[in-house]
Symmetry: C2
Subunit: 282 residues, 2 copies
Amino acid sequence: MEIYLNGSFMNHEEARISPADRGFLFGDGIYEVTRVVHGELFREREHLKRLDEGLNGLRVHLDPDVRNKIPEIGRELLERNRLTSGEASIYLQVTRGAAWPRTHTFPDTEVKPTLYMSAAPFKPHNELHQAGVDTISVPDIRWTRCNLKTVNLLPNTLAKQQARDAGANSAVMIRDGVVTESPNANIFGVKEGTLYTFPESNYILSGITRGVVLEIADKLAIPRKMVPIRQDELFDIDELFFSGTTTDIQPINRVDGKPIGSGKPGPVVKAIQNEYKNMLYQ
Amino acid sequence: MEIYLNGSFMNHEEARISPADRGFLFGDGIYEVTRVVHGELFREREHLKRLDEGLNGLRVHLDPDVRNKIPEIGRELLERNRLTSGEASIYLQVTRGAAWPRTHTFPDTEVKPTLYMSAAPFKPHNELHQAGVDTISVPDIRWTRCNLKTVNLLPNTLAKQQARDAGANSAVMIRDGVVTESPNANIFGVKEGTLYTFPESNYILSGITRGVVLEIADKLAIPRKMVPIRQDELFDIDELFFSGTTTDIQPINRVDGKPIGSGKPGPVVKAIQNEYKNMLYQ
């Protein structure tokens, strides 16, 4: 595959950055993953908006000319990798750049941020969307700026691996007695026909797909409350599902081996999936 | 400066890693910083022990042959950079390695961890040790596996920068109403002749210098309690100080502009500093 790195396109096996990059030394950077269908980036504007918010949040000053070229770079990546038809995903990461010597504070001298982008073919998890998935519950041990989409992703990585080791697809993270997120997706619950999810705050990422689900709820006249599912009511609710850029809308059948609702994808998640596919593949 | 990267020594400006390195994409790695005086690594054994614990904690499988060569590589770095006399520091980082495609879970195929080491001249902050420093208090927003010395360091970086922006030297981090750590050092308090510090747990890094301070307390017959300083008693205690590999023993004069004790380095921190310098420069 060809990737983009700091102004050049190259084979991913030849791409190289400095180990003094603050992405490598501190996880001092942010990222975005965007879905692509037949060459069209789904919800590109929202991803770019969140990117800008992340850059502001970390006070990383990406050259406006470079920032404005990001959509064009993404399209060129799709072309170079023959991904303009079918499905694909684009990964983008910006770090504060390479600085020597290493200091916890931002570098004294002006440092050029690192911009790394890659594209890859994408295969949606249709069988999981239809059948639903098993999960485990884990404590949400992340920091409390989860609204920033940074590459400080070790807690996410460890939770996802813990789920896999347990034979599950993913994890339902619990903080202060309520469901927050999965390691890489937002979580919605359905109780008596009403949709529930953790409110926008510093405890969750404001997922682009989460926003789409809320739009769909309004369109389908599904009442929605920005209230999280409590851990102690998990097995009394009717439905539970993930939403995410690469996860799509994924029903959760079980948590820690115990069924949610009927233990099968319910009517609300199916209706939302259906509408979501209409939007994604329109 | 010459650095070491995956088996080779090279100029730091020529060193390159893949952007697919999980250190860059996830902060999926750990690090150590060791002080060097006249070519001798201070408390090397403890740093290597913590390194091994970190590798186990993250389940990163560094080839035992490579792991066992680390002390030798450090010494060669000192020689190549003419750092065998005077003061220096050695930085070491191990990540899970480069894997393509990017997945939150550990890579399916066996991936070779990345080992990066560098050495640099070190100048202790003697004037700060003598005069003491001003600090600000900030919420400790880190994850809850602070006992692992990982490169997920964004909260530390942001807190340190926040302190600098406020004209302070560093930050005193508060979690659940008690003092935990600074962004890059442990914290001790002194109340009526007794030393207090946060107990070893998942909320702090078990600092090597922290351990040395506890040894010194025993040697000097200073009573010590593994109990944190509460935020509401901060301005009633007698002394407060940082301990860390590059921080050494650093008295804290003020937090948020208000004096701790007399607002000057007190007798207990001075006694500990003195003994610490004897051990470091023996």
